[in-house]
């Protein structure tokens, strides 16, 4: 097990280095530099310009600047925001819990619905439940997340309050001045369900097809022949094998989940990393944009690593590949 973990860890390092190269490269492809506005100023002599350039380190070749930047990043220093002058890392760490809360709840929602529905649909194949579930999954998979979010706000916030029904708040992480859990849950429930909706649909289909595959296996027939009751056969032997590949699918869908959180955070004014990077884009705050992209990518890499290790723990066959 230790060798497997070590191998995965070693594979991760060039991945992270590659990500930093791409991020840095893209940011430096922008025409112009921090001092390009100075270049048009007639009062600044070329000697002054050269001196300013040297003091900012801009006269160094690109690869030296890359290593200087990398040494800062390795120490956790992602620079200062060009707008607020606050350290980017600090802002990221402040908003990270909100994004993790949203993404985590969406994941939990998707998993908690897709596994039971998928398995039941597979066990009772071609029953009305299966037909409804399959149609629902196909229909749900195609729904655009931003449209779903807006329609949800329209219905549950605007229309419900018009009709006098209890309505859900349409934005924000919590109501100012209120610290109750109920309030936070009220704010969380709509964005989380909207974010997890597409994944719930797609994973239901996946689990259903995996379970159908598992049910055909010989070991299921053996278990039933041994005399186990049907439910024990399904849960003890079938469930684990059907659900395990979901870990891999989850890891593959994780970047998409973070991307989706950008949109959901924008619609629901959720104070997370997605909205942070969008605000940075609108204000042309390049340090924020670059730092957040880098942070999220590394987060995804780490999450994939954890998923791989978890999969190795759950399925011992993988370790010996």
């Amino acid at each position: 097990m230790g060798r497997y973990v070590l191998r995965r860890l070693i594979q991760v390092i060039p991945l992270i280095i590659g990500i930093t190269i791409i991020t840095f490269g893209l940011a430096n492809l922008v025409p112009g530099s921090p001092i390009s506005s100075l270049e048009f100023n007639p009062d600044i002599t070329p000697a002054d310009l050269a001196r300013i350039k040297q003091s900012l380190g801009l006269d160094q070749p690109l690869y030296i600047r890359y290593f200087q930047w990398l040494s800062h990043v390795a120490r956790g220093d992602l620079g200062l925001s060009l707008v607020t002058y606050r350290p980017v890392m600090q802002s990221i760490l402040e908003k990270l819990p909100n994004t993790l809360l949203l993404t985590g709840t969406a994941l939990a929602f998707a998993i908690l619905i897709s596994i039971p529905v998928g398995i039941y649909a597979a066990v009772r194949r071609n029953s009305w439940f299966d037909q409804v579930a399959t149609v629902g999954a196909v229909a749900g998979f195609a729904v655009p997340t931003f449209w779903l979010g807006l329609m949800a706000i329209l219905l549950f916030s605007v229309r419900f309050s018009e009709w006098g029904l209890p309505s859900l708040p349409s934005g924000g992480t919590y109501t100012l001045g209120s610290s109750s859990i109920v309030d936070r849950i009220q704010h969380l429930i709509m964005p989380a369900i909207v974010l997890g909706f597409v994944y719930m649909a797609s994973w239901t289909r996946y689990i259903r097809s995996q379970m159908i595959e598992v049910l055909r296996q010989d070991y299921m027939r053996t278990a039933e022949a041994k005399g186990l009751i049907r439910r024990a056969v399904i849960f003890r032997h079938g469930l684990r094998n059907a659900v395990l590949p979901l870990v891999t699918l989850l890891a593959l869908d994780l970047p998409g989940l973070f991307g989706g959180s950008v949109i959901v955070e924008q619609i629901f004014s959720w104070n997370g990393l997605g909205r942070f990077i969008l605000d940075g884009v609108q204000k042309r705050d390049y340090t924020v944009v670059m730092g957040t992209t880098l942070f999220i990518s590394i987060l995804v890499v780490v999450a994939n690593l954890l998923a791989d290790i978890a999969y190795g723990l759950l399925d011992p066959r993988i370790q010996y590949e």
């Binding site: 991945l15 922008v30 195609a142 931003f146 807006l150 329609m151 949109i263």
Partner: protein, 316 residues
Amino acid sequence: MAEAGREAAAQAAQRPLLSNHLTVAERVAARSYLQQSWLRFKRNRLAIAAGVLVVIIFCFGFGAPLISKYVTHVGYADQTLLDRFKHPGQAGYLLGTDNLGRDVLTRLAYGTRVSTMVALLAVVSALTIGGTLGSLAGYYGRWVDSVIMRFVDIMLSIPALFLLIFIGALFTISSTTLALVIAAVSWMGLSRLIRGEIMSLKRRDYVEAARVVGASDTRIIARHIVPNVLPIVIVWATLAVPVFIIVEASLSFLGLGVQPPVPSLGNMLNGAIAFMDQSWTLIFIPGFMIYVMVLAINLFGNGLRDALDPRLGEHQ
């Protein structure tokens, strides 16, 4: 006795064979792989209906100028603030008007056209990039494969939307460059697919046999590799179009894609948020259009995949 046997045989002849999902009569009639695929596809009524819907929507989108001229009788210059927020059906506007008095149906047609063109261009670009890299990695293997697949892993780790937002922040994007940028972050899945398929094809007996007989590389590629990779590529391309439509709509929704006043289904939604209480149809209609397009193309693509290789869809 004999009749019962004959009846059972007749019934069995109507049922599809498990291995290729065709009945006996169809199997006898069809000779080539393409004919078999067409017969399988014809039986999938849902996919056919979805395909027809897709064609209708494409015509709706690409015929936008015609719709503007003959159906709605309004063009860009006919917008008037006096007609703001008309409901669908009011004052002759079939789907109502938006906050600037522009006819929603016309904008919907033009928006569909823009979104579809961006998506199609992105698919073609992604096919070029992903197809080339995947084929190189699959065919030459070893260090070429390692380098390319490492690159694919790196690109896959950066969430696509973040990368797109990043690029959108740095450079101003026109519609064409938008398509190229979307392709630049989406080619990875295709390259993996192609690489895997070519690698498994290289080891097949008939390829080895062809090499032993002395077939040139070009002949092997043209006669053995390309026809086997093509169905996978076609299915990927068909299922990629709705993904790209949603990506383009998301980006336009965030303000980073197609810029107003050029209508795109995404920025129509964006512009309607501020007027949510005045007209909910402004939000519902463009989003619903996206939904129907994506659903139809997905169903058609699934049907295509089941027709081209029934083994792929056997779990369903």
